[in-house]
Amino acid sequence: MKARVHVSFKNGVLDPQGKAIGLTLANLGFAGVGDVRQGKLIELELAESDAGAARKSVEEMCEKLLANTVIENYAIELEDD
């Protein structure tokens, strides 16, 4: 089973890289782009085949290492091989 973890800054946390991307998009002529936030994508290969157990384990990984929950949110996507 594969897991994809999306980590992004929480609302209210300044994301200067996202801001710079937004400004550059505007400079390139892309109109109508609002707030831009840049995050991280972490892909994991898991030996676990049970989705419930896999999710639980990845949640623990997020809480312990993959995200800093003071400043970041995380979202987990699971996919069968």
């Binding site: 946390v13 300044l14 200067p16 890289q17 290492l65 800093n68 003071v70 400043i71």
Partner: protein, 221 residues
């Protein structure tokens, strides 16, 4: 007084702080490798500046989970003094020994220059040789120094006199409330972005950082 400096892969201010501390203490300062899970008895543990683990994932994230950190967290809970400078500050927040987090600088640039920092609480083992409100000139050198905490955390820190240093009209990184350094509730753990060990000898061009090390000797020796 016994002190040790923890060395992570990618630490680069470990020797600077060892030399500065050793000069103030007048004796040797031990180096401890991050992979060690045991550590001799010590009065002060220093987490030095640098780019441990290449700042992978988040600054300080990997180091905060190093084997030696379990022992450091246990000792900090027993009241042993812990000082985290720059990357060491990032490690302390990642390890949960200090509240909040350090984000990339608001200007997205690495900042390396002297800054003016104000002593906000001089009644601690780390700051007793300074005057309350004294303004110091100490270098910073960081990319991820923008201190952030949730509003309720910031309120609790203000009430608990946990703000150690603020940038004095000279904020290089956009940190919340101009915060340059903070204590834990008991004032036994300090994390700060400026590098006192780089302003500890006349040859450095300034000695304003030396007082921090002298405070520790006065409090712990």
């Amino acid at each position: 007084m016994k002190a040790c400096v923890v060395v992570f892969p990618g630490s680069n201010c470990d020797r600077d702080v060892q030399v500065a501390l050793s000069n103030v203490i007048g004796g040797p300062v031990e180096m401890v490798w991050h992979g060690d899970s045991e550590m001799a008895a010590t009065d002060l543990i220093v987490l030095p500046g640098g780019f441990s683990y290449g700042d992978y994932l988040r600054s300080g994230a990997m180091s905060a989970r190093s084997p030696v950190m379990r022992e450091i967290i246990a000792r900090a809970e027993r009241g042993v003094a812990v000082l985290g400078i720059c990357n060491g500050f990032q490690v302390l927040t990642e390890a949960g020994l200090l509240p909040g987090a350090l984000l990339p600088n608001a200007g997205l640039k690495f900042v390396c220059r002297d800054v003016r920092v104000r002593v906000e609480n001089s009644q601690t083992p780390f700051t007793n040789s300074y005057e309350q409100g004294q303004v110091l000139s100490i270098p910073v050198a960081h990319h991820d120094g923008q201190y952030f905490a949730e509003p309720h955390t910031l309120d609790a820190m203000r009430t608990g006199d946990q703000i150690a240093f603020r940038y004095d009209d000279d904020n290089p990184n956009g940190s919340l409330d101009d915060i340059a350094g903070i204590f834990n509730q008991r004032k036994t753990v300090l994390g700060l972005m400026p590098h006192p060990e780089r302003a500890a000898d006349a040859l450095h061009g300034g000695t304003d950082g030396r007082g921090l090390l002298q405070s520790l000797v006065a409090a712990l020796a």
